[in-house]
Structures are given as C-alpha cells and as structure tokens.
Subunit: 421 residues, 2 copies
C-alpha cells in the first residue's frame, strides 16, 4: 500500500530559514494532513488544531505530536488508560516545555498503549491498516509515517521507540539515558524509562535532538569529511537472531553488505555472556519498578486496567528486593561489558524487531532486540530504508556506546543513505 | 525549651504486636497530639484526622506524615507553592501507596518549602520556636520532633532530610539512591532527588525502612553480636569543617571520643581531591536539572514563584550541555573515589550542618555538609543525641558506601546510644 510522502523536519527548517515557508504555513500543512488522514490512522488521542503557532525559536513552525504519556497543561492527558479519562495536568512535562521554549507547536497528543505497556490501542500501521504500528509509542510513529507531522516524541522502557519506528518505516531515536528529560511523564519503570524522538529520516531526528537539547548532535558528514573506513560496524551475533524472521535475517545481511559497499569497516561480533545475562535482568527490573510506580493505579483503578497489566503489576510487587538487587548487579556488569565491547567496535547492527509489523492489532510486537539497550542506557536508533516483498518496512537498529550519540547519528545517516540506495 | 517526648515507632510496633495497643489507639494518640501541638508548630500543610485506620499490615496503627511534595489521592497536594493551591492528584505517589499497602495511616501532608527548594515555609523548630526547623522537609522533621507522629517521609536533593533532622533532633535517613521510590513526587533534580525517612531514633527509622521495603535492614546488634572494634569510623576532614560553628566542631570531636569509648575503631581521613571537585558539581547538576524539571512551572506560574526560585531556574536554564556533562563527569569520578575511600573506612562522621538551627525563619540553613552524599547516592543518616548549651540539637552525620544501608543503620544505632549517654 502506498502512503503519502513523509514530512522532513530538516527540509522544513531549511525552507523556513530561507524564507520559503512561514511557521503558519508549515503548521497549516500538518493540520490539513491530520484532518485528512487521521480518521483512518487513528494516531492522535487528542488534536489541538488551534494550537499556538510561535514565530520565534529554532522549532518555529514545527508541529510536534506528544505521546499521551507526557503531561500537557492545555490538552487532556490520559496515559492510554480509561482511569485517566479527562485528566488535565497543571503543567507540561519537561520535554513538552522544552519543545515549546524552542518554538515548536504542540499539535496534539499521540496514542500510547495503556500506561505505555503492551495492551494495544486503536492506531493502525500506515503501510497496511491491517497491521500493528507497534507500541507503546504507536501514535507517534504512525503520525510521522503517515506524513501528518514532521516529528513526535515518545518513550521506551522495553522497545517502545525502536520497534514502532521500525514497523512504520521512520527514524526512531532512543538517546543515551537522561539526554532528554522525563519529568512529567507517567513513569512505568523509572530507571529504564527513556524519552525518544520520531521523524522521517535520520537527519530529521538528529536536527530535532540538537534543537531540543542545544547539543552539537546534527550529523555533519562533511566537516571533517566522514571516512566510513575508520568506523567499525559489527553485526551483533546475539542468540535472538535465531528468532528473527527469514526476511529480517536477509535484511540484516543486506544491511551489512550495503554498509561495506558504502565503505564502512564491517565485521561481526558475538554477544558477551554478561550481556546475555543482563538482557534477562531487564524484565525483573522493569516489573519490580512498575509494581512500585504503578502500584497506586492498581490500588485505585484496578477495574479500569487490562488483565495483562494487572498481572504484570502483581508479579512485579511479588519480586523480592534481593531478586531486584541481583538483577541490578547483572545490569551493572552488563554496562561494564558494553564498555569493553565498544572498545572493539563503534556501531553494532541488529534487527530492530524480529520482522516486519505483525498482522492484526492484538499485539504490538516483540521487544526482544531492544530491551538490552534500554537497560544499558546506550543510544540506539532505527534506520529505515529496507522493506519486505509486501512493502512493509524492515528496521535495522544501530547501537553505540553510552554518550556517543553524535557518532551514532552521523553513522546512521550514512547507513540510511546506503539502505535507501 | 522542653518539648514533649517523641513517639518511638519501634516501641509502638512492639506494643501493638504484644496486644498492648490497638491501631485505633495508636492513631488516636497522634490525632490528639496534632490537635494540641500543631497550631504552634505548623508542621502540617493538611491534616486528615479521619484517615482510614488499617488493622492489617506491619505498619497498622502507624500514623505517617507525608511531605507535601508527594502526591496523595485523598488529600490536597500543593508542593509548598501557591501555584498548586487546591491541586488534587489522581493517584498516590509510589511511596505513599507502599506505606498504605503496609498498613500505615496517612495522617496528613507535612509542610515543604516551595517546590522543595529553599524559600522557607511557616513551620517552627519545636526546640525553640524562634528558630528554623530546617528545610526542605521542614514539617516532616518538626512533626516527629514535637511528638505528633512516630514517622514522616521527606526528600533530599541537597540536604533536605539530614539538615532538618539535625536541627530538630530526630533521626533522618537518606538511603542509597533508589532504595525508596520517587515516582509521584514533584521532581526538582531527578538524578539527585532521594526519598528519605524521619523518626524519633535510629532504630525507629531502621524499622520503618525495613517494613516499607521488605529489606533486611533493621539493626540486629546481637545476632551476630556487633563488635564495634571491627568497624572503622573516621572523622571526615573536608575543607568545610572550617566553616562549622565552634559548638559543632566541639560536638564532632566529642562524637569521635564517644565512638572510641563505645569501642569503635576511630580515626580520621582526609577528603580525596575528586570528592572536593564532585561537591562543586552538585550545584551545576541540580540547577540544570531544575531548569528542565521546573521549567514548566516557570513558564506557567512565574508570578506565583519566589524570586530565589525564579533566579535559580533561569540560571539552570542557562547552564550549557557541556557544563552539565562536565559536572556529571566529576560526579562519576567522585563515585569512583568514594568506592576507594570506603575500602579504607566503613563509616564517615561529619557535621549534619554547620551548627544548630539558625535563629529566624528566613533561611532553612546550609546544605554544605550534605550535597556531596546526595550527589554520590551513598546512604547518610543524622544521628541525634548531642546539643549545644542552649539545648538546641547538634546533629552528627554518618555516611557509608553505596548499598551498605544496613551496616550504616546498625553502626548508627550504636553511636546514637553512645551520644545519648
């Protein structure tokens, strides 16, 4: 199925700076696209089509969708749960305020699964409406993919940025832990909850990250010229590769070939035992912290929660402190092993998900390729560009060392160009 | 000035378990004390004198005051700011829910300074009403000190648990970072914000921590018998000691003597350079994160904020990412230096504050002896028992290695006994 062309944030900013587009026009384009497309895609939980358009600031004219797990003072915030119907927070989440301070227009709240966990919502995949867009940042990924908005904000606790970005064929960036603030989000597992960004392509997501944070993160392949042969890219041979679909295994091999053709120093590397162990620790940490952070919801609103969430929170509350401490020890050892691993390679390539978006809306897909990097806090990005025979996107995930966000974005932009051919 | 005897949580729990006191009676005692004393002390921002009394759970009958920086679904939550007047959160903060699940009665919200920063509130010091109780957990410390409740919950971002505990002469415990959940608190600087506990004495605060977390943290000096001569206690010779009042310097020397008399292996240790540098990094990290986390308040409610808060948030927003990153680097080096330091000693002793509670309510005192340990995430505790000639408490702070909460509590209980003589 054909979807309309996506909106490039970088191109919009350039057009605005060149005087070829006004902020008003840029936002009007989004309003129009949302009006036409969202009735079918259902990416928005709330639309603020009269949102203030700022004319000052580096994000002036950029309409951003905010995952409805973040508070907004001027729009209802329901965290994907009937327990929060008509909830109106007093102030914005920190990242929403940051976006407004940079001039962005908050055009609406994008659909999240229930409390950003796995119980699915109504959003469909713009590439094929019978398929899931992924979750939990379902609406953020779908709204960008459908060309309704140039950018959206999401969160990842397991695989909730990388996976929906992969399924929808957009760039999804989970920066290093704490690069973007999470105050004012509805937390699920605070030591894992990471804010992330969606945009059409890698350059777009990099420009957005740079403008939001004031960090020097925009890819600058030409100053100094990027020499791909100095960048060690490795296919990451974790055991989960055996669980990937044949299509995805083929896509990953193709990605490696294209990277080599583009001049990168491409090899393979096995998974250190400490990282295999750390991956298993993710669930213990997530569930224990969710049992605490969402314990108040279980106490107050049990009837409004899905069975899978209730079961998870109860399991989390039954995890003992010593089980949690052991998992944290494994996470700490994993971080140490990751530092050693990134002494040998610069960029790891893995699938973003086991395959393309599954058919049906009863599941949002499987985070098995994402959990480890969320736990370690390393930057990870979904590189779009490959697809299966039916035209559904197949996402390739690139991962770098903690704090090496710019190196990751620069390499990913070059890889994306290679994948798109 | 004489204040009434404090309520011991450990004694109440024992009496209840022995059938000598019912939960109803235990809470009624608190209701009565609050009714008599709070009009002068002003420790409560809201009292829920009809709060549900649970008869099941290890904290049944224990009335707890919650710093009004934590959300409560059944009581107004104003974060010490007129900007949040009449704010009613939908659900409890995680630690409030945890306390309820263990059977505690949430008897009221205790006064916090504005957004848990330094602009003072109306609470007075129970030992002398002309003096500050300290802040930002002003009401939590004062309510316990005045004998209104056996326990209260607070937070520390700079010195907001240890300092008010010291000024009010109660035990105040800032556990290792993340030992207690902070979801549902109004964050100021998320990587520093730490939940902490107040109770009459060290055993009380240890029992409370153990019952809230399910961790094996209650001091058990007799099984196996505590041999103080195996515990290396060191006076911590940081440069800030020169800023302490003569009374406090004398109290610290006395504390060391009493510890030696009690059989501890007492010595002195200098401050590693990396820790002196890390201390300075605290303010950069705090202010930068506050500029993000409370940026939405500045945007929405500037007129309702104090000048000192506005100035701090604006200064925080002007801190560049590279200044913040450098501060985080210093913090990381500090954590590493602290691990090495705690290879040489088990317990560090420092003043909890430069002296006794200052006269007047225009300042809540000085956190210079607290910031470093908040930044490092190490457990710290105020040991009460010493006082100046006017009878105002002089608090001694004990600090242990990250994760060594039980060792700290056990040693602190023995030190407290020595200080009280």
């Amino acid at each position: 199925m054909n979807i309309n062309r996506m909106m490039s944030l970088a191109a919009l900013v350039k057009a605005r700076d060149a005087g070829k587009a006004t902020p008003e026009l840029m936002v009007a384009l989004c309003r129009d696209a949302i009006g036409r497309k969202d009735p079918r895609i259902k990416a928005f939980a709330h639309r603020d089509l009269d949102a203030t358009i700022r004319t000052e600031g580096p994000l002036a004219g950029i309409a951003i969708g905010i995952k409805d797990i973040f508070d907004t003072f001027d729009q209802p915030t329901s965290y994907g749960s009937p327990a929060y119907r008509d909830h109106r927070p007093r102030v914005d989440a920190a990242i929403v305020d940051l976006a407004r301070r940079q001039g962005a227009t908050i055009i609406g709240k994008t659909v999240t699964t229930e409390l950003a966990f796995i119980h699915p919502a109504e959003t469909v995949n713009p590439h094929n409406h019978a398929h899931t867009p992924g979750g939990s940042s379902s609406g953020s990924a779908a709204a960008v993919a459908a060309g309704m908005i140039p950018a959206a904000i999401g969160t990842q606790t397991g695989g909730s940025v990388i996976r929906p970005a992969a399924f929808c064929g957009v760039a999804g960036f989970k920066p290093s832990f704490r690069l973007l603030p999470t105050s004012g989000m509805k937390h699920f597992a605070p030591s894992l909850d990471t804010a992330g960004l969606f945009a059409a392509g890698i350059e777009d997501v990099a420009v957005l990250t740079a403008l939001l944070t004031g960090r020097d993160l925009a890819p600058r392949p030409d100053e100094p010229p990027l020499d791909p042969s100095t960048i060690r890219v490795a296919l990451y041979r974790c055991a989960q590769l055996a669980d990937a679909d044949p299509d995805m295994r083929q896509a990953l091999a193709k990605a490696a070939d294209l990277a080599a053709d583009a001049g990168f120093d491409v090899g393979e590397i096995g998974e250190p035992e400490a990282l295999a162990v750390a991956r298993e620790a993710h669930l213990v940490i997530q569930d224990h912290e969710a049992g605490l952070a969402c314990g108040p919801d279980l106490a107050r609103s049990r009837d409004a929660l899905s069975p899978v969430l209730i079961e998870t929170l109860e399991r989390g509350q039954a995890i003992t402190p010593s089980q949690y401490d052991e998992a944290r020890k494994h996470a700490k050892r994993g971080r140490s092993a990751a530092r050693a691993l990134f002494g040998e390679v610069d960029i790891l390539l893995t699938p973003s998900a086991p395959g393309a978006a599954p058919r049906g809306l009863t599941t949002t897909g499987d985070p098995r390729f994402n959990r480890l990097w969320t736990l370690l806090g390393t930057p990870a990005i979904n590189i779009p560009g490959l697809a299966d025979e039916a035209g559904l996107p197949l996402g390739i995930q690139a991962v770098a060392r903690f704090g090496r966000d710019q190196a990751l974005l620069t390499a990913a932009a070059r890889l994306e160009a290679a994948f798109r051919g």
